[in-house]
């Protein structure tokens, strides 16, 4: 069975109440008119029967209304000022004057409409106390200066690569909105992204990321999404190789120089490196699950990366 949000349920209940109220109002109006008709020609025998019949109808409708109202009085905590029971009692009190309860019905219907609007507009139905947070993001700039190995352990890349990445992605339109509430700065969004993709298992839950960064789970999700979009934009700039392309030739030459510096002149031809890594899956896949079982007894997807054989921080 699909789950309905409490907001939707509340709105539907209010709509039903509104509908019932309008119906009851017309029944009462009708009864008033019939009463007047009956009073004007009270000698008529046929109208006596019709009066008794109408009375029965209006009695039952009144009964259903009052039972409805007693049920709706459970919403009385939500209804500020006017409660269902108080309205009902005032309705009974002045049952002598039809104009009076038409007005009271009008007030009640207006109140229900106002409440409906209020529920529809409000962003938070139940306010909660704010959780205390202690973000650890402020450690990163300090580590970048004084303890780059700690920075690298947390975000899996060195501070200089981080800065270069920020420079590449910070102009992407996805990091800008036309709202008065600007997004988090791009370096923070990138840090949240890198911390998330650098961990797996229990440490990689969105809740954990949110606690570490001192933001909400939804913000973590948004940061991941935006950063991925911005980085994938550079896919074709990063993943390319053309023997005739001048930039690629220069890059190849740099790789060869690096290899030569580490080994000897004869080995400079080896300018590419390859390695693979498994990406563990959350659980065994439903289709052909055993096919994903790897040599480390995990269910995973495999990846192979070929890259220039140098370890250069300057992107």
């Amino acid at each position: 069975m699909p789950h309905n949000s409490s907001r939707k349920e509340l709105l539907e209940a209010l709509k039903d109440t509104h509908h019932d109220l309008v119906l009851a109002r017309y029944v009462v109006l009708l009864q008033g008119i019939l009463d007047e008709l009956f009073e004007s020609d009270s000698d008529d025998h046929t109208s006596t029967t019709s009066e008794s019949g109408d009375g029965a109808i209006s009695d039952s409708s009144m009964h259903s209304l009052s039972s409805r109202m007693s049920m709706e009085s459970s919403w009385s905590s939500v209804l500020s000022g006017i409660t269902a029971s108080s309205l009902l009692s005032s309705y009974r009190h002045c049952s002598e004057e039809p104009a009076m309860y038409q007005r009271i019905f009008g007030q009640f219907i207006d109140a229900v409409c106002a409440l409906h609007d209020e529920v529809e507009k409000s962003r938070v139905l139940n306010s909660r106390p704010k959780l205390s947070r202690s973000p650890q993001l402020h450690l990163l700039p300090e580590w970048a200066l004084h303890a780059p190995e700690k920075f690298q352990r947390k975000l899996r890349i060195s501070p200089s690569v981080f800065d270069a990445l920020v420079k590449r992605i910070e102009d992407h339109p996805i990091f800008y909105n036309s709202s008065n509430n600007a997004q988090l700065p791009v370096p923070i969004q990138l840090a949240i992204f890198l911390n998330a993709v650098g961990h797996y298992g229990n440490a990689a839950t969105r809740e954990d990321q949110a606690e570490w960064a001192g933001v909400s789970v939804g913000t973590v999700y948004n940061c991941l999404k935006r950063t991925m979009v911005a980085i994938l934009q550079h896919h074709d700039d990063a993943i390319h190789f053309d023997v005739l392309d001048r930039e690629d030739q220069m890059e190849r030459e740099r790789a060869k120089q690096w290899v030569e510096a580490r080994t000897c002149r004869e080995w400079r031809g080896g300018f590419l490196c390859v390695d693979g890594t498994p990406f563990n899956l959350y659980q065994k896949p439903g289709w052909h699950g055993e096919g994903f079982f790897d040599k480390n007894s995990n269910y995973s997807l495999s990846a192979q990366v070929c890259m220039f054989s140098f370890n250069d921080d300057k992107l």
Partner: protein
């Protein structure tokens, strides 16, 4: 440079590697006297240099060990995800 992702984890590294562009058309990447460094899981090719593997029941010669030692200085930079 080049990559393959999304292959089931039960495939051997060298099997997955065969699906890369580098492996399918090495002539697009390597000229004469150019090659790629790999670890011992991969198959040796004229354009793919791997370390010597100890044969079952045997050992490596001194020369082979020296070769492996120097190879490790260039190819370990790419060991993914374990560089810390």
């Amino acid at each position: 440079m080049d990559y393959v992702i999304g292959v089931p984890g039960s495939f051997h590294d060298s099997n997955v590697f065969r699906r890369t562009r580098v492996s399918r058309s090495p002539e697009d990447f390597f000229g004469v006297g150019e090659w790629l460094w790999a670890d011992s899981a991969y198959a040796t090719q004229t354009w793919c240099i791997t370390p010597f593997k100890r044969p079952p029941g045997g050992g490596l010669t001194r020369q082979q060990r020296t070769f492996n030692y120097h190879l490790s200085t260039v190819s370990t930079v790419t060991v993914i995800g374990r560089n810390i």
